[in-house]
């Protein structure tokens, strides 16, 4: 049922490591939105689950897709796509909810697919290019190059800060 975080821990061993002397590494959970790959620090991710029924909450703030049942707990599911300026997408069999803990609260991020856990050396991270001018640019902390691939790093506390009740985002 659930893709436990343990699966990722297992993958850690096979993921290409790039040990450079004394360089700090970032461990990132990688997920996909449209064609882009995004990474969030593994220590904020509690688990990754398949999408079950998401119940819409009437008059909830924009960017909230609804709530779902996470083992008896009511989990708010954030439409992270629209937070980052992308159009909402259909839920497909590959879709997942990444359960993150931000400021002591659990939130689910609805994403198109989840990839492996990546290790990225700090030196491979560059500041976001000027071209990144999406609605969610403030939440992008940098861009990491992994071979041919480009990974957009997200600061979740910034991306989700809008969900404190006092500052309900106005779309």
């Amino acid at each position: 049922m659930t893709d436990s975080i343990l699966d990722f821990a297992a993958q850690l061993d096979v993921a290409p490591a790039a040990p450079v002397a004394a360089e700090r590494e970032l461990h990132l959970v990688v997920f996909r939105l449209d064609r882009e790959e995004y990474g969030v620090p593994i220590d904020v991710v509690r688990e990754v689950v398949r999408v079950t029924d998401i119940t819409r909450v009437p008059h909830a703030p924009a960017h909230i897709r609804g709530v779902m049942n996470l083992r008896g707990r009511i989990l708010p599911v954030v439409e992270i796509r629209s937070r980052l300026g992308l159009a909402p997408a259909e839920v497909t069999p590959a879709s997942r909810v990444v359960v993150v803990e931000v400021a002591g609260r659990l939130l689910g991020l609805l994403v198109d697919a989840v990839g492996q856990v990546a290790r990225v050396g700090e030196r491979q991270v560059a500041a976001p290019p000027d071209e990144v001018r999406t609605a969610g640019a403030d939440a992008v902390t940098g861009v990491a190059r992994m071979g041919q691939r480009l990974l957009v790093l997200l600061d979740l506390s910034r991306a989700l800060s809008a969900f404190s009740p006092s500052t309900v985002p106005v779309s």
């Binding site: 709530v67 779902m68 008896g72 609260r105 009740p165």
Partner: protein, 564 residues
């Protein structure tokens, strides 16, 4: 917050759990003693345990290094000793004792969040020392307990602080008798057995194609039944006697009455009635408002009362009684009562005209709970430190309860609060709107009606229907809840508000009623106006619980009129 950082946080919690009831008991006893001594009745039973209780508080405080509390308890013991003889000037000392006992209870309660400083009660202790010195010395008649105007001002401030503590003096620890825990464990064992039975039935079904379907059903029913009992037992552990909130009111009423120059006796009945911890925690604030209103505005001055042939001392009665799965709380005063004409005038001025021309008195009093109605300029009784009755009503409604008021002008006023035993589980009506399901708390449902052609009318873009001879506004569920799918809207749920105002809600289908477990919504969801909470239904999907009381009150803007 600071509690979490305190190295003895857990110990402190235990200290408060043990000492707060003791301190509140002391505070209550000394108020009763003051009355008894004044009236010359026998107070032996009240007085005897006092010294021991104070001693225990002193010892416990010393153990926790709470020097301020230790000193205070110690001085109160001294003061108590000095008051035992019936000497002149005792009244002043008794006044001090009552204040000190109140201070002690407040400080113990405050310790739960922040341990008080060592010299926290220094000013008060100085007063006690001065009193004791004067007593021991010339034995001259001590200062009379007359309050100068500026003293009265400080007293007012103190009583207000009492109210605030009443508002958030949440109970953080529950003591559960070990037999109750044993029963819980036993029921849990039965659940495990029922689950094993179910697993067995499923396995057999897999083995022999089909198996006995009746066996599976029986096992399932068995599990259902035991789970229900487990829920019941678990709920029992959360029930606390309502006296946990009542105890602090004796002093509140006494202090308020003193400040107002009135004579008021608070009578409490049914303190052993038990309610869910959550309900108890959130009951303090509305009760403080009601009692404050009663003392300040409901009750006349002693002169006024005597002139009307009433006893100079007024009585406020706080009574709790259990009726099946509800607890009825009443706050009754024998003061001047409500003025129905004034309420009606103000309601009309605010545009809340009653549906028909000659409303009954009950209908008029129900209007008092509307926002903006209970203000000083209309009904003096209903004003009170900027808090209107609408606030009381909404906090009671937040507990899935409701509140009503009855009054006999010149004779007094009674507020009755109907509260559920628990807020963790709710009986709800499940309805379908479009493709979505919602739970409507059954307490708010007056009736469900099948929509017949020609029943609904559109009056100035507002849906209306006649229900039991009353014309009530009707909302379209789809529009209210912002769903996209449209449906047949074949049923109408008539909702009732605290003020007995009704409003229809059109839905597509009724799915029956059931008990649902209430789960709070994450703050990330903001405060959606029409949704109070959520629940998980039998199929594992989440359904929102409608804030039907608010919908019925019309607090939600009529964005949701009938489909044209």
């Amino acid at each position: 917050m600071s509690q979490a950082e305190h190295p003895f946080a857990a110990l402190l919690a235990e200290y408060v759990a043990e000492c707060l009831p003791l301190a509140e008991d002391v505070a209550e006893r000394v108020v009763a003693l003051e009355r008894g001594w004044r009236d010359g009745t026998d107070t032996g039973d009240l007085a005897r345990p006092l010294k021991g209780t104070l001693h225990t508080i002193k010892g416990n405080s010393a153990m926790m290094g709470l020097v301020g509390l230790q000193t205070l308890a110690h001085r109160l013991e001294d003061l108590w000793g000095a008051l035992l003889g019936d000497q002149p000037g005792r009244d002043a000392g008794v006044g001090l004792l009552v204040r000190g006992a109140g201070l002690l209870a407040d400080l113990v309660r405050a310790t739960a969040t922040a341990p008080p400083a060592d010299d926290v009660a220094a000013a008060f202790i100085e007063e006690v020392d001065a009193y004791l010195a004067a007593e021991a010395g010339a034995r001259e008649p001590a200062r009379e307990e007359r309050r100068s105007p500026d003293r009265r001002a400080t007293d007012r401030r103190q009583t207000r602080a009492v109210g605030e503590i009443g508002a958030d003096g949440a109970v953080t620890t529950i003591r559960v008798e070990s037999q109750r825990l044993d029963a819980l464990l036993e029921t849990f064992g039965e659940v495990m057995i029922a689950q094993a039975g179910l697993r067995d039935a499923i396995r057999q079904r897999g083995r022999r194609s089909g198996g006995d379907p009746a066996q599976l059903e029986r096992a399932m029913l068995g599990l259902d039944r035991t789970l229900k009992r487990l829920e019941q037992d678990l709920m029992e552990t959360r029930l606390l006697p309502i006296s946990t909130v009542f105890t602090r009111f004796t002093r509140l009423v006494r202090d308020l009455a003193h400040g107002e120059g009135k004579e008021v006796r608070l009578e409490v009945a049914g303190g052993e009635t038990r309610l869910d911890k959550t309900v108890i925690d959130r009951l303090g604030e509305p009760l403080v408002h009601l009692l404050t209103n009663a003392v300040i505005h409901g009750i006349e001055t002693p002169d006024e009362r005597t002139a009307r042939g009433k006893p100079a001392e007024a009585t406020i009665t706080l009574r709790a009684v259990q009726r099946s799965d509800r607890v009825i709380l009443t706050v009754t005063d024998d003061g001047r009562g409500l003025d129905p004409d004034a309420i009606l005038r103000k309601a009309r001025a605010l545009g809340h005209a009653p549906a028909h021309e000659s409303p009954s008195r009950a209908e008029i009093f129900a209007l008092a709970f509307l926002p903006g109605l209970s203000t000083r300029d209309t009904v003096s009784h209903l004003s009170g430190r900027g808090v209107g009755l609408d606030v009381v009503a909404s906090s009671i409604r937040a507990l899935s309860g409701n509140v009503a008021v009855g009054s006999e002008p010149g004779r007094g006023t009674t507020f009755s609060l109907r509260l559920p035993l628990t807020v963790a589980v709710l009986r709800a009506l499940l309805v379908e709107v479009g493709t979505e399901r919602y739970a409507v708390p059954l307490a708010d449902v007056a009736e469900t009606v099948r929509v017949a052609p020609g029943m609904l009318h559109q009056v100035v873009r507002q849906g209306m229907m006649t229900w039991r001879g009353e014309v009530i506004p009707v909302l379209d569920g789809g529009r209210l809840l912002g769903g996209t799918a449209s449906g047949a809207r074949a049923c109408c749920v008539v909702l009732r508000s605290a003020g007995e105002r009704h409003r229809g809600l059109l839905v597509d289908a009724l799915l029956g009623h059931q008990e649902v477990v209430v789960k709070a919504l994450d703050p990330a969801l903001g405060r959606p106006p029409a949704v109070a909470a959520a629940t998980i239904l039998g199929d594992g999907r989440v359904a929102c619980i409608l804030d039907s009381g608010r919908v019925a009150d019309g607090w939600i803007e009529p964005v949701a009129t009938l489909a044209s």
